[in-house]
Symmetry: C2
């Protein structure tokens, strides 16, 4: 496999060592456990703690968003595998400052089981914990069964907006309400043009022929919900946008933020070709774009492909999206 | 080819349309020519203009660094092909505010010929132009023949530091001196783990077998200066660092900024495994790291691989590196 790694068994620990070496001004590990990452600055008394967790292989997800204005902690699993409940619980204790902790994570059974256990452990210690599960991938389950959908790139918006709100000293219930509001207004869909290779496995996660694409791809190296002939960028965008727009639905007069997310190997050049068509479609629909994000926000290692997310904004969401953030993988100054 | 594009002939124009759509707060095109990109804010009377140019396929290079604190303009060519002298000249006129214009670009014959012609055209119009050519790739030519080296990711530092100095209203001669000082103190070397595909060509730029790597890779889809067996990350870093450290040479007591640059398809996870070893080696050598940059700064479309750049700092370079910048592809707040 064409990867710049050492022993695959050490891949994640060595990656985290590199991240801590580069970003010790932002983050540190708790109790010497490389898989327990928290903000390195002093915790603010009374601030609600925001914690996440999930498998590795998705950088900047998940740990890349730990920092000022976003998350307080992240439990880090092996490639595409959940971290443990104990690690989540250690972080909960580390970041709680008396006002409780909100877990925000993607809709995957391993993560749900472990975060549920961590919440029970926290409860026994008298730490109030609430949970919000992101499930933004419209391709993974039909309308009406939204709770079965996967969480993908749209979780970036949940971190950003809930993080900004917690920074303003909102209560646990309020931060939870806001995180749920983001979840209710964000939709994502993607396509994959290549599989990826899990280092410890050593072979591609699925078979793919030249000239094909996987439609409705997730971020765990799995095949999409359907295979199709690789189409032009404009056709791909048209189909994705149709699914997303009809799902919420997004309507004329709405204002949205757009996230065009690269899954790993797809160059920025192609993401902008995609964005060009996204903007054309939204204009034709009478939907206003507020602030587009383009780049790699939630990846599947070296998978080629991309996803499009829309977040419908109102005044409250927009004001929080505009707030500054400063993390190892995402910096934003106050937006206008 | 597994690309999300429309007609390959329109690839670059459509990409630029997407970029202008997304980043009109930063950049605009001059005289309706999509290949002539300049800052969208008013030019500051007396500020030296900084212009660059080069082929496409390298995002964020080149046009991604046009913005406050970095470049004023960029002429955009087709994939891996120089833009025209006329385009460079149009931009020169657009950004000159009476104090002259500095061209900063990579050491490629097509770009040199065209920038030389543009400089002559500017001279006839009474615009003072100076040129600085980046040639940081130690693998491409031996010590003693530095002027034959390719310009690769290290040019990022030239843009950043010269851009900050121009923003401080330094004179053309002074900005040129500073850009040359960066060039004199930056060295880069990279490896490639896959070729890439130029859309209009449709097939890989070179042959590569599983388990091989190209050593001393550039950013134009060309093969490296040597083929080798793909080694571990630590071994690759050791070899690259040896070549870079001996070349300047960098010595115990020096302070450097490090840039670990992904060439396109290599995930961030691997870049941090690389950085871990870079930091270990520099510590062992007694060289202090000031501020590492990791990510995609100069790519070769969807090529897998990475490069390492070191910039030796002194007080003057460090102070300018710390200054804020705000461009479509690179944001930095004032560093400490």
């Amino acid at each position: 496999m064409q990867k710049i790694i050492n022993d695959p068994k050490n891949f994640i620990d060595e990656m985290i060592e590199g991240i801590l070496e580069a970003h010790s001004d932002h983050i540190r590990c708790i109790k010497g456990d490389l898989r327990c990452i928290a903000r390195s600055d002093e915790k603010k008394p009374g601030k609600v703690g925001l914690s996440t967790g999930g498998g590795s292989g998705h950088l900047p997800l998940f740990l890349g968003y730990v920092g000022k204005g976003m998350l307080d902690a992240c439990a880090v699993g092996n490639v595409f595998a959940s971290p443990s409940a104990e690690q989540m619980f250690e972080l909960t204790k580390a970041i709680d400052s008396g006002s409780g902790v909100l877990y925000i994570y993607g809709n995957y059974s391993g993560d749900i089981i472990n975060f549920d256990m961590a919440a029970e452990m926290a409860d026994l210690e008298g730490i109030k914990v609430e949970q919000v599960v992101a499930a933004d991938d419209v391709a993974s389950s039909p309308k009406g069964a939204e709770n079965k959908r996967r969480g993908v790139a749209g979780i970036f918006y949940v971190y950003k907006i809930a993080g900004a709100y917690a920074e303003e000293m909102a209560s646990l219930d309020e931060v939870k309400r806001m995180a749920e509001k983001v979840c209710a207004n964000v939709r994502t869909m993607g396509v994959g043009l290549s599989p990826c290779i899990i280092p410890e496995v050593g072979k591609p996660t699925f078979e793919m022929k030249e000239g094909e694409m996987e439609i409705g791809i997730g971020i765990h190296g799995e095949a999409g919900i359907g295979k199709g002939r690789l189409e032009t960028a404009d056709m791909i965008v048209k189909k994705i946008m149709k699914s997303i727009l009809e799902d919420l639905p997004y309507r004329s007069g709405d204002e949205v933020s757009v996230l065009v997310n690269g899954l790993g190997a797809t160059p920025m050049e192609e993401l902008y070709v995609v964005y060009r068509k996204v903007a054309q479609i939204l204009k034709a629909e009478g939907i206003k774009i507020y602030h587009p994000y383009l780049g790699e926000f939630a990846t599947s290692m070296e998978m080629a492909g991309m996803s499009i997310s829309l977040l419908r904004l109102d005044d409250e969401l927009k004001k929080l999206l505009q707030k500054p953030a400063r993390t190892p993988f995402f910096d934003q100054i106050q937006l206008k």
